[in-house]
Symmetry: C2
Subunit: 321 residues, 2 copies
């Protein structure tokens, strides 16, 4: 593991003028906020920077890369590669496949305990709520006076990964960073509305339809919703709109296990399981060869829908404390 | 306006052993969190305390008054009355009517700019996100080492009034307080789930039904939902469940004016208007004799439903920038 001193030396190294920053596929606020914050700080140090992402950068996050332009340099010039918020080369995506090869990434800055240590050098702080929080503290250590737009990037990184300071991974450090970043004039009202409140009409319609198929079992402690074949075919909802539904069943009062069942093909269903501290989602999914985290896990079951419901409910009941 | 020094002297006064704390009607996390936090601190100073609220204390907030028991004293003993988070005697409610009389409230601690200064002495900090934040800072000033349960009360007060650090009224001070309160061992994951994520099944059904009547105008910038007579009669939803719907229309992508129309009686509708920074909700409602705040206001219109929709949409369009 590197130290902040060593990262600072790496970034300041006068023999290197060019940096490539890698962000993960299906980009979120943390990888993009971290990537563009680091980009701005490097540029302010006179470096040339390219920020890369396999899936491009979604419009939804355009306020993070407002004013960004990719620098260029001669192929003969040396450059260094930094991955931000990428725990595993598998998360780089198709268009960044080159960087999955050993020795291509010089430095990885991350907060996932599951980091695969694929880079030449790695800084992982698994107790940090977000990679953006690691960078905030690094820039403070380096005595860099960050500007408003960099603060926007870091605030968004921390806010999105903590569900606006709501989730278990929120820490006093995250709140203290938010306080300091807000002092830079971040328009947090607009950012929070954009990140947490707004839903597309299509997303609302899909949620409506899925909630219409709400089932409850075990005295209401297990709540299931279904994304049926018909709904997938008629709604025109995209992947993000569908996967966003996974959080819905656990919001129903009294629920300890929230299950979202999604049609894949005939008699094959993909299940997403979310739990409170009363059950282990990963144990529930392991019964069907799946896995994940203690509060969020997934699996697939090949069976008719009614049978799928019965099987997952049985497993949920077994693992409920 | 009092100073923290004067409030400290008021609370510590050795000639007064008994305190009544008033909370506002339709109690929320701030008035209850503030009330019970102050109660605990006064009790730790050896005082006897009663916390009063016109509507009692809802089950939803039971974690705030866990272990609380009302003290009693002889009628002949003197006592002092403190109102927390009550901007106006009108907000005290029926069962606290006695305290609406001048001279009955000794001290009011509040954060509403609209405070009517009805108490003998008042401390209002309109820049504080919550009354709980004022108390957190007061206790810090008094060098009181608050315990975990008091921290639970103050965290909840601040988190609920800021929509979990999401709304415009969130400040660096609020984040710094949250950081310090979390250090006391507050189970913020459970509190935040309870306060922000969970919805009753009935609330979900009402929201579903209201969203089924979603209308959009002015290119999607105005979004309307309706709580119809039929919905009110069949859903069995309570006041809180219905009024919670007011936030829904503004969550639809592209919306700058979100309007919730609620049936009152034949050809009489109550309207709730929420806006982004692109329109003044209070100006929109003023056209119909209503009023409120710049981002949230209300009015009543007596007309058939279609006419009500046309009139409010016209006013919204006029005031959209």
């Amino acid at each position: 593991m590197m130290t902040f001193d060593e990262i600072a030396a790496f970034l300041k190294d006068e023999s290197v003028n060019n940096f490539i920053i890698l962000t993960h596929k299906s980009p979120d606020g943390d990888t993009l906020g971290s990537g563009f914050a680091l980009c701005r700080v490097l540029k302010s140090m006179g470096k040339k920077v390219k920020v890369l992402g396999s899936d491009g950068f979604p419009d939804r996050y355009s306020f993070l890369y407002d004013g960004y332009s990719e620098d260029s340099w001669q192929d003969t010039e040396p450059h260094k590669v930094i991955a931000v918020d990428i725990a595993d080369t598998m998360l780089m995506g198709k268009n960044l496949e080159y960087y999955t090869h050993p020795g291509t990434v010089d430095l990885c800055i991350d907060h996932h305990v599951s980091n695969k240590m694929y880079a030449k050098q790695t800084y992982v702080d698994a107790k940090a709520s977000a990679t953006g929080l690691v960078l905030f503290e690094l820039f403070g250590f380096m005595e860099i006076d960050i500007d408003k737009q960099t603060a926007v990037c870091l605030y968004t990184a921390i806010a999105t990964d903590t569900g606006c300071f709501k989730y278990e991974n929120t820490t006093p450090r995250a709140h203290i960073a938010a306080a300091a970043l807000m002092e830079k004039g971040v328009d947090y009202t607009r950012i929070n509305r954009l990140m947490f409140d707004i839903k597309s009409r299509r997303r609302i319609e899909v949620e409506q339809a899925a909630l219409a198929h709400l089932d409850q079992a075990v005295g209401g402690r297990v709540t299931l919703i279904c994304v049926t074949k018909e709904l997938l075919e008629t709604s025109g909802a995209d992947e993000a709109e569908i996967s966003g539904l996974s959080a819905v069943p656990l919001t129903v009062e009294g629920t300890d296990v929230g299950i979202t069942i999604r049609y894949k093909d005939d008699d094959r269903y993909k299940l997403s399981v979310r739990t409170t501290d009363k059950a282990d989602a990963s144990a529930i999914c392991k019964e069907f060869g799946g896995g994940g985290h203690i509060r969020a896990a997934g699996c697939e079951i090949c069976a008719p829908l009614d049978e799928v419901k019965r099987m997952i409910t049985e497993s949920a009941q077994k693992h409920l404390s």
